[in-house]
């Protein structure tokens, strides 16, 4: 070995030792790394000092986490409206694809990223953040800004956790009944009314189902989500998916199974699942008479009719069918909240932003894009229904009496929902009878909630 290589190897060895020493140090540094972040919840800056009407004098840039910025106008247009009104606050969006948004958001919050405000895609996931103290309490800011929480149709109440207001509801979506008029006309059956029970829905599906094979028109369509059966069980507001006895799902599982297996008025779950059939393509192709689906579908449908992709062009919208004994206008839905990161250093600016996007003005801005604001009132609703392509009678159909959250904001809801999804598949495939499935749900829920 030459002298040079010997010198190199000595140097390299020294570096190596340093590297070795560095590794465990880095490893042990990790737990400590959490310390500053963990202290953050204590640093609840007293917001009472800053009247909400006064905007910060300095120019600030806040980072806001959101999704689908490239494909959906909602977030972008409300940000633009905000920047126009508050020229000294710049909003820097952090955009993540929708499917992975929840994971990325939690990694950012846990990993100490400098995000100031964030929208939450699945409202029930906020509970974990609240537990960790990652959401700022907005109560005093709301009071100081004179926001009336009653304007949110009760949606704000869900975010009152342990006396703290952890987020503001931004938009809401709820289930309604979409129908294809052509299918009804072909069968000579009158269109669904806004006061239809689930029993009438099932009967109507029989009347309008027609044809065989690829041309078959199905009376109804239930998407593969457990929500599209289980939601009807919680629609009356008497039960939630956190339960020890799931018998309130029973009538709806029996109905769904009857419709797919006996009456053949809806395409069966196994086919939908193994062929990846999406409810939208079934509706666009005109194969479906009635589709209980969320309000978000309205704007997509209008767009697809305009682009020519949807051959179902003559459609209508009705209030979601209701259970016998429950008033018409009770429906199930969800909300998209927005919160402030408690570790943010720009909370005042972030509040200005949140306050704007959840204000009447912000609500009207997103309503113009067809999104349903949480501030749902005759004014905002009239903007939505006046959109080009909205069917007649939409205003009445969309006016609802009560929106029950499909998933309550509480501990363990995400796990329960996961479990319900698994059992849902087994029941719909006929691997378990309805009673067996519901019993297993109860048993597993008890284990999770224990």
């Amino acid at each position: 070995m030459t002298k040079l290589t010997r010198i190199i190897s000595v140097l390299v060895c020294a570096a190596m030792l340093a590297g070795c020493a560095g590794a465990p140090a880095a490893a042990t540094a990790e737990p400590q790394a959490q310390a500053p972040a963990a202290q953050a919840p204590e640093a609840t800056a007293a917001p009472t000092e800053s009247p909400a009407t006064e905007t910060p004098a300095e120019d600030v840039t806040i980072k806001v986490s959101l999704w689908d910025a490239e494909t959906s106008p909602t977030f972008t247009s409300v940000i633009n409206a905000f920047e126009a009104k508050f020229p000294n606050i710049k909003v820097q969006p952090i955009d993540t694809v929708a499917a992975d948004y929840t994971n990325k958001l939690s990694v950012m919050l846990n990993g100490g990223s400098e995000v100031d405000a964030f929208w939450i895609k699945d409202a029930d996931t906020i509970f974990g953040m609240v537990n960790k103290g990652q959401t700022e309490d907005l109560s005093s800011r709301v009071a100081a800004s004179g926001v009336n929480l009653a304007d949110f149709n009760g949606l704000a109440d869900s975010f009152q956790i342990d006396g703290k207001l952890v987020a503001m509801p931004f938009r809401t979506d709820y289930y309604v009944l979409f129908y294809n008029k052509a299918v009804f006309d072909a069968a000579g059956v009158p269109y669904p009314t806004n006061d239809m029970t689930w029993a009438q829905f099932e009967e109507t599906a029989k009347l309008i189902t027609a044809g065989e094979g690829a041309d078959k028109k199905y009376g109804a369509h239930f998407h593969t989500w457990q929500a599209c059966v289980e939601n009807w069980g919680v629609q009356d507001g008497k039960n939630t998916i956190l339960s020890s006895d799931y018998s309130f799902f029973k009538p709806y599982y029996e109905m769904a199974l009857r419709m797919q297996d006996v009456d053949k008025t809806a395409l069966d779950y196994a086919t939908l699942k193994t062929s990846n059939i999406h409810y939208s393509s079934q509706f666009y192709s005109g194969n479906v008479g009635m589709l209980p689906m969320g309000t978000w579908f309205a704007t997509t449908l209008i767009d697809k009719i305009k682009s020519g992709e949807s051959t179902a062009t003559d459609w209508g919208i009705a209030t979601l069918p209701h259970p016998e004994g429950t008033e018409a206008g009770y429906t199930v839905g969800s909300t998209t909240p927005i919160a402030i990161n408690s570790a943010s250093t720009k909370k005042d600016a972030a509040w200005e932003f949140i306050n704007f996007v959840t204000s009447e003005e912000g609500a009207k801005t997103i309503a113009k894009d067809g999104a349903f604001p949480a501030r749902l009132n005759p004014d905002t609703l009239s903007i939505i229904v006046s959109a080009d392509g909205m069917p007649e009678g939409a205003a009445d159909a969309l006016t609802v009496k009560n929106i029950v959250l499909d998933r309550p904001i509480a501990d363990k809801v995400t796990e329960i929902n996961q479990m319900l999804g698994e059992e849902h598949g087994l029941i719909m495939l006929g691997e378990l009878s309805v009673d067996e499935g519901l019993a297993e749900m109860a048993e597993r829920a008890a284990e999770i909630l224990k």
């Binding site: 846990n110 990223s113 393509s281 579908f297």
Partner: protein
């Protein structure tokens, strides 16, 4: 490699003609879907030939998202990471296979151990560390994360282990030091392994979605795989566009594969032995 006999050849072709259609079926589906409207992508039964081919899908994907920028970023990351891996992994593999020292095998087991731990488990500490280094939202974070792969070291070591030590002894007698042996004997002999490591690294980084999704925030820094996922929005997915973009993103992968697979036939490795 000798030419197989005529009958063996016919048998081989027959077998391959049975297997290959089955492996290429998804390609056919991707191609056909890339020319469809979204509502026609999933149908019962599968419609293999689109009624009205939507060639416009291949234009739309460039208009809807900044696919050009994404492609550039992906190329940049993939090439840098592949080159660093080829060097550091083959270098380390020589140490693990042809040098004898205390603690070598224990150290090697450390490498193997890290492959066994699912990424989900250590992703958060990794992110926290990167965040402290202010590397989040930079390409550097991904380069550092992927360049020192335990997999590459393992792959190269296993190949080098089977290179006869006699060859190295002969070179030592000729006066070559270890670095010379690595550069002049082992590297040329390892071409097939280097080719497969290149293919694997290229494919892994090119198709990596989770890394860029977690680490990149700014749109201008994102990669193709993140771009493709942008066509899946909260309430709808544009599968025609997804498949068109996926088909295009396969082109570099296959160009590389076809270019590098020739290292698996020329007998590069063994030619050195006769010399």
């Amino acid at each position: 490699m000798k030419e197989p006999s005529r009958s063996a050849k016919i048998g081989l072709y027959a077998a391959l003609c049975v297997i290959c259609p089955l492996t290429l079926l998804p390609l056919a589906w991707m191609l056909s879907s890339s020319l469809k409207l979204d509502k026609d992508v999933f149908t019962i039964p599968i419609q293999w030939i689109p009624a009205i081919p939507q060639w416009g899908n291949y234009i739309k994907i460039w208009e809807k998202i900044p696919l050009g920028v994404f492609t550039f970023n992906t190329f940049k990351l993939t090439i840098i990471i592949t080159l660093i891996q080829l060097f550091t992994c083959s270098f380390a593999a020589y140490g693990f296979s042809k040098c004898r020292f205390k603690g070598r095998d224990a150290l090697f087991l450390c490498y193997v151990a890290t492959i066994a731990i699912p990424w989900q488990v250590y992703m958060l500490p990794q992110y926290t560390m990167m965040n402290k280094m202010h590397l989040v939202d930079s390409h550097m974070s991904l380069i550092l994360l992927h360049s020192f792969s335990a997999f590459g070291v393992f792959l190269m070591r296993q190949f080098m282990v089977s290179i006869p030590n006699e060859l190295l002894e002969a070179a030592r007698i000729d006066g070559l030091n270890e670095y010379g042996i690595y550069a002049r004997i082992i590297l040329p002999l390892s071409k097939p392994a280097l080719a497969s490591l290149s293919i694997f690294t290229f494919v892994t980084i090119w198709n990596d979605f989770m890394g860029p999704m977690i680490y990149l925030n700014t749109t201008e820094k994102k990669t193709i795989q993140v771009g493709i996922r942008m066509f899946i929005s909260q309430y709808s997915a544009e599968y025609g566009l997804i498949m068109a973009a996926s088909i295009l993103s396969l082109v570099p992968v296959f160009t590389l594969f076809i270019a590098f697979q020739r290292f698996f036939v020329e007998g590069v490795a063994t030619s050195g032995l006769k010399g």
